[in-house]
């Protein structure tokens, strides 16, 4: 596995752990379809939340949030629709969140969570 995938994997673990601690139920991890991948699908109080996790091992090339572009969000929105269709779940509301993880080697990873970015 390439180093960058390793970093991304670790970041997703951190994000999943953070969300579970915050009272979310984990529904799906790395759900794939022909259009792409959703990192995390979680639920809380009847809301279904689609989460994009972005991990960086430092901020030398900018904050992780800065790497989330309009195009990426638009794809996430389409994927959210696709997931709802295949799962058959009736969600009260759906939401798209972003989690940024800064995982400096030798430090505790820092997790930041933005709710309802789309």
């Amino acid at each position: 596995m390439a180093r960058k995938d390793e970093v991304g994997r670790r970041g997703e673990d951190c994000a999943a752990e953070y969300l579970t601690r915050s009272g979310y139920t984990l529904l799906e991890r790395n759900w794939r379809c022909s259009q792409g991948e959703i990192d995390l699908v979680v639920a809380k109080d009847g809301d279904i939340v689609f989460v994009e996790v972005k991990t960086r091992s430092g901020t030398g090339y900018g904050h992780p949030f800065e790497a989330i572009t309009v195009a990426k969000l638009a794809r996430l929105r389409r994927l959210a629709g696709a997931w709802c269709e295949q799962s058959g779940l009736r969600a009260r509301r759906i939401r798209i969140d972003v989690i940024g993880v800064i995982a400096r080697s030798g430090h505790e990873p820092v997790v930041e969570h933005l709710e309802g970015v789309f």
Binding site: T59, H63, F65, E66, I68, L73, V98, G100, E112, L114, E115, V117
Partner: protein
């Protein structure tokens, strides 16, 4: 999440209005959104501010920043808002105290490395700030001298965004940087041009003094090589020193045009000599979006010299009629109206015809009468009508040069002393009126009960008027010139000789 505000200045012409710069941080994906009618250069401020903040050691908050420039309906131009935007963003983030940033007015463009670049239009912007009651402005160190020309304002010159943050109380270590300085000022008027260089041409020297003393506009007609350009270039030297208000206006216009402004106010009047390919926008000012001052505005309180005047397009010359009449240049655009001062002294020079030899004593003119009429006809009647002194300049013969070399000649310094004395006499006579120069006085006032000259004095122009040699308007102009001639000679009232000489200056063509 935070909110902070500070203030900056938007310029329309020379008038500035205070713009409130508000920054808000919201819990969204990173971005810096600028709202409030920015133009292209200002919309790019987002990128400059982001890079400058990062390179100053205080990266912007990794959430969404919304920056509003209020009043939102006012169109804003240029890069002078960068510093205010950066500080509002960082104050909203809590890097610096919002109260400190809110109390100071900020003007300046940021470089990507966080240094501050000198910004055009600094002087008028700081004047506008002072008029609106602001006492402290923060400007780029390269502009600090220019901003300090405005009285009653505390100027803080900072070299970089980091220095600005430290001044506002951020806990950062200062880093010394090379100050980005404004280009050095070059003297616009050459002081080495002296009236003493002019040989012969005594009428022209007299005409220049009259023009300087009374503020009269001049039109010089003569063949190539007669010395028209040489004479015109020496007129600014005859004008008195600029007073403080005029000097600030001259510097403001230079600053607005993006020309360097030195560390002190100019004392000498400006000279502008645009080329005859100039457009109306280049001459009086214009431009889409940002309205910039033209040559006529930059010549305010000085001399606007149009060499080869018939070669200018007629529409360009006629654009000068309104400023000549009102002393103010007004430029209308769909979204704004800009006013510039337009109290320049107009000097036009022209050849008498296309070949230039008409009326010369030594050579033959090859132009047909029709071609001659068409050539001078390009200068419209209404424009010529506003010019008091219309003078014919002749080539100097070798005999005249030999005679003149023996005679004492007038230097610029002596002539300027006479001009200053004449202006003082005119101002003393005009005290209690709204005019200070003879050229501003309307004819009705000169012909009124108080100022009326005796019939013996005005006999020559009365006769010229009866015979149709001059119009009523021309009559008034001769009267004004007579008063200026009397002022120059130190007489309290014009004599018949003064009126005769004035008629010569008016009707020499």
């Amino acid at each position: 999440m935070g909110l902070a505000r500070t203030r900056s200045v938007a310029l329309i012409g020379l008038a500035g209005s205070i713009v409130e710069v508000e920054a808000d941080i919201s819990s969204q994906l990173p971005g810096l959104r600028l709202i409030g009618l920015p133009d292209a250069a200002l919309a790019e401020a987002a990128e400059r501010v982001r890079a400058a903040a990062k390179n100053s050691g205080c990266a912007l908050n990794p959430h969404k920043l919304t920056v509003n420039l209020s009043p939102a309906a006012l169109r804003k131009h240029g890069s002078g808002f960068d510093l205010a935007i950066a500080l509002a963003c960082l104050a909203a983030d809590g890097v610096v105290p919002a109260e400190s940033v809110g109390a100071v007015l900020h003007i300046g463009e940021l470089a990507l490395d966080g240094r501050l670049r000198p910004t055009p239009g600094m002087l008028p912007a700081v004047i506008a700030a002072a008029r609106s009651g602001y006492r402290t402005v923060m400007v780029p160190a390269g502009n600090a001298d220019e901003a300090a020309l405005v009285p009653g304002i505390r100027v803080i010159g900072v070299a970089s965004l980091r220095d600005a943050l430290i001044w506002h109380g951020a806990r950062l270590e200062p880093i010394a940087v090379d100050v980005l300085s404004a280009p050095a000022e070059e003297d616009s008027v050459d002081e080495s041009l002296d009236l003493i260089d002019v040989v012969g041409n005594d009428e022209a020297i007299l005409a220049l003094q009259v023009a300087a003393a009374g503020g009269h506009h001049v039109f010089m007609l003569g063949p190539p090589g007669a010395g028209k350009t040489m004479l015109a270039a020496r007129l600014p030297g005859l004008l008195p020193e600029l007073d403080r208000a005029a000097a600030i206006e001259v510097s403001s216009l230079r600053s607005l045009a993006g020309l360097p402004v030195g560390r002190s106010l100019p004392t000498r009047p400006p000279l502008e000599s645009p080329h005859h390919t100039a457009t109306a926008a280049a001459l009086i000012g214009g431009g889409s979006g940002l309205i910039r001052p033209g040559a006529a505005a930059r010549a305010s309180h000085g001399v606007l010299f149009l060499d080869e005047a018939p070669e200018f397009p007629a529409s360009v010359l006629d654009a000068l009629r309104q400023p000549l009449e009102s002393g103010v240049i007004t430029i209308h655009r769909a979204n704004s109206i800009a006013h510039f001062p337009g109290s320049f002294q107009l000097v036009m020079a022209a050849n008498p015809c296309a070949c230039g030899q008409s009326g010369a004593r030594d050579t033959e003119c090859t132009c047909s009468p029709m071609a001659k009429r068409r050539y001078l006809g390009r200068i419209s009647g209404p424009l010529l009508d506003r010019i008091d002194i219309q003078l014919r300049v002749q080539r100097i013969t070798s005999a005249r040069v030999r005679v003149s070399e023996a005679e004492p000649r007038l230097s610029t310094r002596e002539a300027r002393t006479r001009v200053v004395a004449a202006r003082a006499a005119a101002a003393a006579r005009l005290v209690g009126t709204s005019w200070t120069l003879n050229s501003h006085v309307p004819g009705t006032w000169l012909r009124g009960q108080r100022m009326r000259l005796g019939p013996k004095t005005t006999a020559s122009i009365d006769r010229a008027l009866e015979r149709g040699g001059i119009t009523m308007r021309g009559y008034d102009r001769v009267l004004r010139l007579s008063w200026t001639l009397a002022d120059l000679d130190g007489d309290s009232i014009p004599s018949a000789d003064h009126v005769g000489r004035a008629l010569y200056l008016r009707k020499a063509m």
